[in-house]
């Protein structure tokens, strides 16, 4: 008999614009000890379906249908009884571990509250139980962590605490709603391994809600695919991945960028003959340090070294991928090149001209060659301006000689070029979807026909299928117009699709720069290897057979980076020399690597 049996679940929300039917007649079962994945893009109803089971819908939502848990209908239970089930027999972890922990309570107090709410035990017994659970989720020094406040822990640690708290009462069902989406890929790998291990050991049935098919591939036994509130397909994980029946599942699988192979095979762009100018963009020894003021009056500000000596070159028509975890300085790199933050030291040359030495007017003129696309598609468009004005603004600034009609002509042309209808001129950004907004942002960057576009995580806020469209668009545009791109992303699989060369960053420095195929096939730096190893692959068999080499711990704070090699604290090959000497970038077998022992590392399997 199944543990949870959901029949014809319907979730509706009453909104001022009419009723929204968020989940349409969904039925599924969950067996004891099973791991079930619910996959879908944003707005597919995947979270709402499960929230409704726990009575956690927003005030304007109603749920219909039946959800039998242990012979009782969860949807018909009174609130008091539901509360007894919630937390004790069914518990939940959320996406953002910071907002789900109360910042004013110590870890021990939050966790003990859960125990003592449901069971009549002494403080001491409850504390012992919490300690045991923290040990089970492999938190180092659990005794001290019990008395810490949430802000003293890193994101990965907090998520571990959340998992520990949710498993305290040994629930029968654990619901994880996007548990790793806010985390870096190396930390995500640790957390996924932990969930897999714990659910096997404790026999807890797990429902994993995620947008990421690759996460599901490694973790789940059965998968539900949702789209537009409907359950499109459900089945064994291998069935879904290898023999998908529904068109939507197929489309979704085809859209997922994969690390193990490029999604679309494209001819390498033809490199234009080298010009006399040399590289289009040249960055040397770039440092950006931010002063951090402590609360104390007259205290000397400390320095946050966001970028500490980074160099790169970009040839005409080339795409350079930049990858790294959050806090590695990749966005600061983009902002420094665009002169949005002042460089502390180093040189940035565009077409042979040093940006730092240019006068204001000359710099302004040069900016038309250097455009930018940001991560958040809506935030990068002024909400009070029409689309036409947004895309026209660069022309007003740099081509004041153009009359109204000429501007309009160009704007319409560029909007069509990025896949919009060209009739949106009078509409406002909030009337468009995320993907359309990103297209408008690309149109704004293109309208001046620049030579370089810096893309700062342009697709990470978008759903997988939209992501694929935008990546395709960028690749088309690049080939057609001979653009040079710097493509910054945390997602190695996306970077693989469109870069010719890739730079890997860690704590404000470049640790490896190599050709794309070189880097993904034979990563030379231990960090690159670990990073590639941490990315899940959307293929159940491959994913489960992989020999994993997971990184432990979290990246250190850039306020206080380790001496010598910055990666040494998490590196399994670290030796005394790594502590004393800063490794320089040097040529090793076709790539440039900053590691003392790059040649001596064992070959990649």
């Amino acid at each position: 008999m199944s543990l949870l049996e959901v029949r014809n679940l319907d979730v509706r929300f009453a909104t001022p614009d009419g009723e929204v039917h968020a989940v349409k007649s969904m039925s599924f079962e969950l067996a004891r000890g099973e791991t079930l994945g619910i996959v879908g893009e944003s707005g597919s109803g995947k979270s709402q379906s499960v929230l409704s089971l726990l009575g956690l819908l927003a005030g304007n939502g109603t749920a219909g249908g039946r959800a039998l848990f242990d012979g009782r209908d969860l949807l018909a239970l009174p609130e008091a009884e539901l509360r007894r089930i919630r937390g004790r027999r069914i518990s939940m972890i959320f996406q953002d571990p910071m907002t789900s922990l109360n910042p004013y309570l110590r870890i021990a107090d939050q966790m003990m509250q859960v125990v003592r709410e449901h069971e009549n035990v002494s403080r001491r017994a409850a504390r012992a139980r919490c300690l045991e659970m923290l040990t089970a989720v492999r938190i180092p020094e659990p005794e001290q962590r019990l008395d810490a406040y949430p802000h003293e822990l890193s994101g990965g640690m907090r998520q571990r605490v959340m998992i520990a708290a949710s498993l305290l009462l040994n629930p029968e069902i654990l619901i994880a709603d996007e548990p790793t989406t806010a985390l870096d890929v190396t930390v995500q790998a640790q957390i996924l391994a932990l969930i897999r291990d714990l659910s096997a050991r404790l026999g807890t049935a797990t429902i994993l809600i995620t947008h990421d098919l690759a996460v599901v591939a490694g973790l789940c036994e059965r998968v539900l695919v949702m789209h537009g509130g409907e359950l499109k397909e459900q089945g064994e994980v291998r069935e879904i991945f290898y023999r998908p029946k529904h068109d939507y599942t197929r489309a979704l699988l085809a859209a997922v960028p994969r690390l193990d192979r490029a999604r679309v095979v494209r001819p390498a762009p033809v490199k234009p003959a080298a010009t006399d100018h040399g590289p289009l963009l040249e960055v040397e020894g770039l440092k950006v340090h931010f002063p951090v003021h402590s609360g104390r009056l007259f205290a000397k500000p400390r320095r946050l070294k966001a970028l500490d000596g980074v160099g790169l070159t970009l040839a005409p028509g080339e795409t350079l991928g930049v990858v790294g975890e959050s806090g590695c300085g990749k966005s600061t790199l983009a902002r420094a090149i665009l002169q949005l933050v002042p460089a502390t030291a180093g040189r940035i040359c565009v077409m042979g001209q040093d940006l730092g030495a240019l006068e204001k007017h000359a710099l302004r003129r040069l900016r038309r060659e250097l455009q930018v696309i940001f991560q958040d598609p809506l935030a990068s468009l002024n909400p009070r301006m029409t689309v036409g004005d947004i895309v026209s603004e660069p022309l007003w600034t740099h081509r004041p000689e153009l009359d109204k009609n000429a501007v309009r002509q160009r704007v319409v042309t560029v909007l069509r070029r990025v896949g919009l209808a060209g009739r949106e001129l009078n509409r406002y950004p909030h009337e468009f979807s995320g993907g359309q907004c990103q297209r408008i942002g690309i149109a704004r960057a293109l309208v001046l026909e620049p030579k370089i576009i810096i893309c700062d995580e342009p697709v990470s806020a978008l759903d997988v299928s939209i992501q694929a469209q935008i990546v395709d668009l960028l690749m088309d545009l690049q080939q057609e117009l001979g653009l040079s791109l710097i493509f910054i992303a945390h997602d190695l699989a996306v970077v693989r699709q469109l870069s010719q060369r890739v730079m890997v960053m860690y704590l404000g420095t470049a640790v490896e720069i190599a050709g794309r195929d070189e880097l993904y096939a034979r990563p030379s730096h231990p960090y690159t290897r670990a990073l590639i190893n941490s990315v899940p692959i959307p293929d159940p068999d491959l994913e489960r057979d992989r020999a994993r080499e997971l990184l432990s711990g979290d990246p250190p704070s850039p306020m206080n980076p380790p001496s010598g090699c910055r990666f040494r604290t998490r590196c399994r090959y670290a030796q005394q020399r790594c502590r004393d000497e800063v490794p320089e970038l040097r040529a090793v077998a076709g790539s440039r690597v900053a590691c003392h022992f790059a040649e001596d590392l064992p070959a990649v399997s």
């Binding site: 665009l338 900016r367 990068s380 002024n382 909400p383 301006m385 600034t397 740099h398 509409r427």
Partner: protein, 295 residues
């Protein structure tokens, strides 16, 4: 999505700006709509009403000293102890009170927006100095300032505008500066900087239009606050000069005659309270309609 694409097929799709959205939301808020109508009606009444009354605000009707409201005598709100028609005086008081509210708010708005936006956008040392000046001005005791002004320059309605405006722009400057700071790091502003758009154009096209929502809300909440401050000053005897009057002054006079002639308190107080209520409801409605967090 399909509806959206279908819409795109037609030529020149009209846009739906955030202002249109806000207007629609405001109109669906019944309390705010009624408040706006009441405020509008009251404004018309205080401007037009006195023209149709046979009495002027300082005319003494010797045959009707301190009588209650009655239609026969033509004093529909009654008269005060000096035989002056309360209806006309209430309307004249409304003129002064509403004018103080609007003028002082405009003064504080103008100073506050330019000061706050400059400090916020330019930032750095200048911002530090400008905001410390605001802090120092905050520390001045308001009552003390007003009494000093009255002593030096005599009682003058203009001085009340100046005094109230001079205090209120401080709040405005702080709010505008905070908004500017957060807008400055928005990606669309960074994109404009990266395009090479000039500082003034950025302030005009990107910063100020995005401040307006907050400013409009603040204005509707400032007007009643200013009216209240003026009433408070008048109640203390520091406000308008007799025989001119304001709602605050009328309430003060009425309170003294509370036992013998309660209508002297009831009518002006009712007008004052209604106006304050309506402005606050309208402000709340505007805040709901314009708050960017809802989007």
């Amino acid at each position: 999505m399909s509806a959206e694409t279908a819409q795109l097929q037609t030529q020149d799709v009209p846009g739906r700006s955030l202002w249109v959205d806000a207007w629609r939301m405001l109109r669906s808020n019944r309390a705010a709509v009624i408040s706006a109508i009441v405020i509008g009606g009251m404004s018309v009444l205080v401007i037009v009403g006195p023209w149709f009354s046979p009495y002027s605000y300082d005319f003494t009707d010797w045959s009707n000293l301190s009588i209650g409201p009655s239609a026969q005598t033509g004093h529909i709100f009654g008269t005060d102890t000096l035989g002056r028609d309360l209806f006309v005086r209430t309307l004249y008081g409304g003129r002064i009170s509403l004018m103080v509210g609007v003028v002082a708010t405009i003064v504080s708005l103008t100073i506050g927006i330019s000061y706050g936006a400059t400090a916020g956008y330019l930032g750095g040392r200048l911002d530090h100095i400008m905001m410390r000046i605001v802090d120092i001005l905050y520390a001045l005791p308001f009552m003390f300032l007003v009494i000093l002004l009255m002593v030096f320059f005599g009682r003058n309605i203009l001085l009340i505008f100046v005094a109230i405006g001079a205090i209120n722009w401080l709040d405005m400057a702080r709010i505008v500066r905070g908004q500017t700071l957060s807008l400055k790091h928005k990606e669309f502003v960074e994109a404009a900087v990266a395009q090479g758009v000039g500082t003034f154009a950025i302030l005009r096209r990107h910063i100020v239009p995005n401040l307006l929502g907050v400013v409009v809300v603040y204005v509707t909440l400032t007007i009643p606050q200013v009216i209240l401050v003026e009433s408070f000053l008048s109640f203390l005897g520091l406000g308008v000069q007799e025989p001119m009057t304001s709602w605050g002054a009328l309430v003060k006079d009425g309170a003294e005659e509370l036992e013998s002639a309660p209508w002297l308190l009831i009518f002006p107080a009712a007008f004052l309270a209604t106006a304050l209520f309506c402005f606050n409801f309208l402000g709340d409605g505007l805040r709901d309609a314009l708050d960017p967090k809802d989007r």
